[in-house]
């Protein structure tokens, strides 16, 4: 019988890659992190104010304002999808949260009697159970995010529409709804629980901005989910080879819907936090933030073709954008240059990665 090979096969030409040529050090996230460190050093010499505690807190707070949404979008980008509706989603969740909070805190509004009563003076509104209104209003804001995410996911995974077009449509639909429900005026979080709300969204915890704490917790959770759960593995598989994912029995439709729900939820939470910082939810809030969010994800190393990305990259991208913005202000450069520079950096980050993979 013509047996081609009876001996074991050996691959003498396959070696082990050097540590700096593989893994994190060879990733775009690694390069951008390096660039970020360099930028920090440069800023330290360029401005004495850069490393002051106040400015660092400012930076931490400002980048946290888009970083949570960026984490969510990164999930979607890893599967090879995109979500353009995050900016509108931020506004809508913020608006629903503040409207529900104000509504339930206004005696005479439907359902409000379950949550508040008037104090003896006939004017002061007192919560029946402090914190309950806050909880319900935040859940309402996140609830609409889940619905929008489900609709996005259903259109993309079940109906097979393109993610770009679906979420472009959703960008407009949700922004329109923001104007409809507020009649174009925006809304303000109010009532007895408003103080808790502000404390939890724009306050400090252990000397650090609260949003920054949320970001760190969510990023850690995301790292575990992506690399140590079946769901995370399937998210990467979907972005690497969708057909393979399907053939190996991965529930592709379910995973896709789940990532769009996660993306919308992250955007909704982000919007609620921004609302606490602004003290209101104007109907034009977070307009075009989707571009910053996607730019941050891409700068941090998420690949729009799918299969690559992670929480560290998302955060690094957001920090880089914020440090540049902050640096330009401190360096007294006209702040209108920021947008131009951000565009240059997006292209540079992707270009460096391309050059590196050509050389490897």
């Amino acid at each position: 019988m013509a047996t081609p090979l009876e001996s074991p096969i050996t691959f003498t030409n396959v070696g082990k890659a050097k540590w700096w040529q593989s893994g994190f050090f060879a990733s775009q996230t690694g390069y951008v992190l390096l660039a970020l460190v360099v930028l920090f050093v440069v800023m330290n010499f360029a401005s004495p104010y850069f490393f002051t505690e106040g400015n660092m807190q400012n930076v931490a707070k400002n980048f946290s304002f888009i970083a949570i949404a960026t984490l969510g979008v990164t999930f979607i980008i890893i599967t090879g999808g995109i979500d353009l509706s995050v900016g509108s989603m931020m506004c809508f969740s913020a608006m629903i949260t503040s409207m529900v909070m104000t509504g339930l805190s206004t005696p005479g509004m439907p359902g409000a009697s379950w949550f508040v009563h008037l104090a003896g003076d006939g004017k002061t509104v007192v919560a029946n159970l402090p914190g309950l209104i806050l909880l319900i209003s935040v859940l309402a804001g996140l609830g609409v995010a889940v619905i929008v995410g489900l609709v996005n996911g259903f259109c993309i995974a079940v109906l097979g529409l393109s993610p770009f077009v679906t979420t472009l449509g959703m960008l407009s639909i949700v922004r329109g709804l923001c104007y409809v429900v507020s009649n174009g005026r925006g809304s303000f979080p109010g009532g007895p629980d408003a103080d808790y709300f502000y404390a939890l969204t724009s306050g400090n915890v252990l000397g650090m901005p609260a949003p920054f704490i949320y970001l760190v917790i969510l990023a850690a959770a995301m790292a575990v989910v992506l690399h140590h759960t079946g769901f995370g593995r399937h998210v990467f598989a979907l972005g690497g080879n969708e057909k393979a994912a399907e053939l190996t029995g991965i529930p592709v439709v379910r995973v896709k819907i789940e990532v769009y729900v996660i993306g919308a939820l992250a955007a909704g939470l982000q919007g609620i936090i921004i609302c606490g910082w602004l003290g209101s939810a104007p109907a034009n809030m977070a307009t075009s933030y989707e571009l910053n969010v996607i730019a941050a994800a891409v700068i941090g190393g998420a690949n729009l073709a799918g299969g690559v990305g992670g929480p560290l990259g998302a955060i690094v991208g957001c920090v880089l954008l914020e440090v540049i913005r902050n640096g330009l202000v401190l360096a007294q450069v006209n702040s209108y240059w920021q947008q131009t520079l951000v565009g240059v950096i997006i292209i540079l980050a992707v270009l460096v990665d391309r050059i590196r993979s050509r050389m490897a």
């Binding site: 081609p4 759960t229 079946g230 690497g240 057909k243 991965i250």
Partner: protein, 254 residues
């Protein structure tokens, strides 16, 4: 050499399989058997019905007529996952691998091993890498479980795809054109992987256009033409010339 395993019960037995797509008769009265440890080459020109037959066995299509018996029992597959459940695996031409994942991750794709941490089930990376290494060892392929598939040679990628079928202890592995788009050296590696499967008593159906590969590795060759089985011969009783004329129709049947 006819495999010594060819005794007893066939792992797969098809009787009178037919398939119509509307007015088009894709398959007519196809019957065949495969025994454990046997490698059968399925040959035929484009449109001869090979793919339809494979898809019926793999559960993608239901046959219009006929009966499929697997390990002696009549089976009816509604979806591919039903076929996989009884032990039929397909290695697809493009291998269905996710380039951005490691070899071990690909072997276990959709069947990840997990460990419970309280309410959470986390991936058991260690166990998966160890089992993948074992499978690559059985296939005598030097494939490292932790390497990314995108850095691998064609032969190693084949090993990953085949290791996936070993994971489930498949009794029948169907390979769709595994040697169509790879180098000569890698073809040898793939053929030796088929031998490894055979040694372990797995029945292999090799769908291929490449005559030398079929004659190098198969015990038997089945030739399809116009939706019918035209020949089913032991490799020793036929020749590439005869198979070619059966495929093209120069010879009607043998």
């Amino acid at each position: 050499m006819i495999s010594p395993h060819v005794t007893g019960q066939p792992v797969l037995q098809l009787t009178g399989i037919g398939k119509e797509f509307g007015a088009i008769r894709a398959l007519h009265d196809v019957g065949m058997q495969i025994f454990p440890g046997e490698v059968v080459g399925l040959m035929g020109d484009n449109g001869a019905g090979k793919s339809t037959l494979v898809k019926i066995i793999a559960g993608n299509f239901r046959p219009s007529q006929g009966e499929i018996r697997f390990a002696g029992n009549a089976v009816h597959f509604g979806r591919p996952i039903d076929a996989r459940a009884v032990g039929i695996e397909v290695v697809y031409q493009d291998l269905a691998l996710a380039d951005n994942l490691t070899a071990a991750a690909n072997v276990f794709l959709g069947r990840e091993l997990k460990r419970k941490f309280g309410p959470f089930a986390l991936l058991d990376h260690k166990a998966m890498a160890a089992r993948a290494l074992e499978l690559f060892g059985e296939l005598r392929s030097e494939t490292r479980p932790d390497d990314l598939v995108k850095q691998m040679s064609g032969g190693q990628r084949q090993a990953v795809a085949i290791a996936r079928t070993r994971l489930s202890n498949a009794k029948l592995v169907m390979m769709d054109e595994p040697t169509a788009a790879i180098s000569v050296r890698q073809v040898e590696q793939v053929l030796s992987l088929i031998h490894r499967l055979k040694e372990q008593g797995v029945a292999v159906m090799l769908i291929s256009h490449r005559m030398p590969d079929v004659f190098a590795v198969c015990d038997r060759v089945v030739v399809m033409r116009r939706g019918e089985k035209r020949a089913d011969k032991a490799i020793g009783d036929t020749s590439p010339e005869e198979v070619t004329s059966l495929i093209t129709g120069a010879k009607e049947a043998a």
